[in-house]
Subunit: 180 residues, 2 copies
DNA sequence: GGGTTTCATTATGGGATATAACCATGAAGC
DNA sequence: GCTTCATGGTTATATCCCATAATGAAACCC
């Protein structure tokens, strides 16, 4: 506890010294900036991530894509409906039950624009740190994100309420298998 | 663009190289672990943060507390109702319209337990990094969180849809001023 | 005292996500 | 060929979290 509770304080009490707190604050900030950035294209972060994944994996199965993104397949449907309705993406029936996902030309074009906006956003965020810092940050964050097996004795009573995180990011824990 | 799009790939495309993506993934992970950790006390992150702030600032105004935590005052009401119903916190009328917030003995006791759990959680997260790394991480994250004035030309069309992604759980951060 | 501001509350709606139940289809086995 | 089972997708439903707007009331200011 000593190392965890230095002097701290201000109005927040010890809050400011917690990694989770710092993480959340930063994430909120960045995410909000990202949302604002993509707003002019009427894209939300989840949309952007879907377009990105489909673009990188043409023909990817709907189930596989949503698993990769950590989105429940049930929630994935209306999301795709929206993108499809806007003519950005197509569901191509593979065999009567499975769909392969493809971007349309328009989808690719919009994604390109989104990427340019995203780059500006990224640069904005990166503006407050050096290249080395960025590298370290991503490395550390990735390590944190992969701490699946880290909490063995933790997560006790859990399983009662559900996460409620968000979509755009891979909430790993979700129920998803891979290929058929 | 060059620096932003190295080689990348896998199933996620360029996603893995984005700071925002890494941030989100890490944040989701940590948050979930935190939620699981506090679950046995029936506390959610928001509860924990409220208890922490009130404990550190006995008698703090309701409005001030929720502003500090970045919670809308409207949403703060049922939150406090819950804590008060559980006998953890009291609203002390100051003058007929303003309430000062105080923890009850029980509230302090529960907070102490929660803090112990939180410490374990924090240590778990910190387990994947060195002390130096942690210091750097918090420093960088804090810098990011404070990049308010960073996006002058950004946030263009914005203001159309509301944030949504903002004030969430230990949204400790968000829009908050400090002292009066 | 009357207008304005501050503080708290109620009411309402939207967004995002989890769950469960439900088809349909393809694959496997006898 | 027909049953059985796993898979992919969809629908429907419940919940949680948060935001906005409107209301009520007290304090503040001239």
């Amino acid at each position: 506890m000593d190392a965890l509770h230095p002097e701290v304080a201000g109005e927040f009490g010890p809050l400011t010294e917690y990694v989770g707190y710092a993480l959340r604050r930063a994430q909120l900030k960045v995410f909000q900036d990202f949302i604002d950035t993509l707003d002019e294209l009427d894209l939300r972060p989840a949309h952007f991530s879907v377009l990105t994944v489909v673009d990188a994996n043409p023909g990817i199965l709907q189930s596989r894509a949503c698993a990769a993104l950590g989105i429940q397949k049930a929630n994935f449907v209306p999301l795709l409906d929206g993108l499809q309705r806007r003519g950005l993406l197509r569901r191509v029936a593979l065999n009567g039950r499975a769909n392969g996902l493809h971007l349309t030309d328009e989808g690719r074009k919009l994604l390109a624009r989104a990427r340019r906006l995203h780059d500006r956003h990224e640069r904005r965020v990166l503006g407050v740190m050096s290249a080395l810092e960025r590298k370290r940050l991503i490395a550390t964050l990735s390590r944190i994100a992969g701490l699946d097996e880290v909490s063995p004795r933790a997560a006790p009573a859990a399983a009662r309420r559900s996460p409620s995180g968000s979509a755009a990011a891979p909430r790993r824990g979700s129920a998803a298998k891979r290929s058929p």
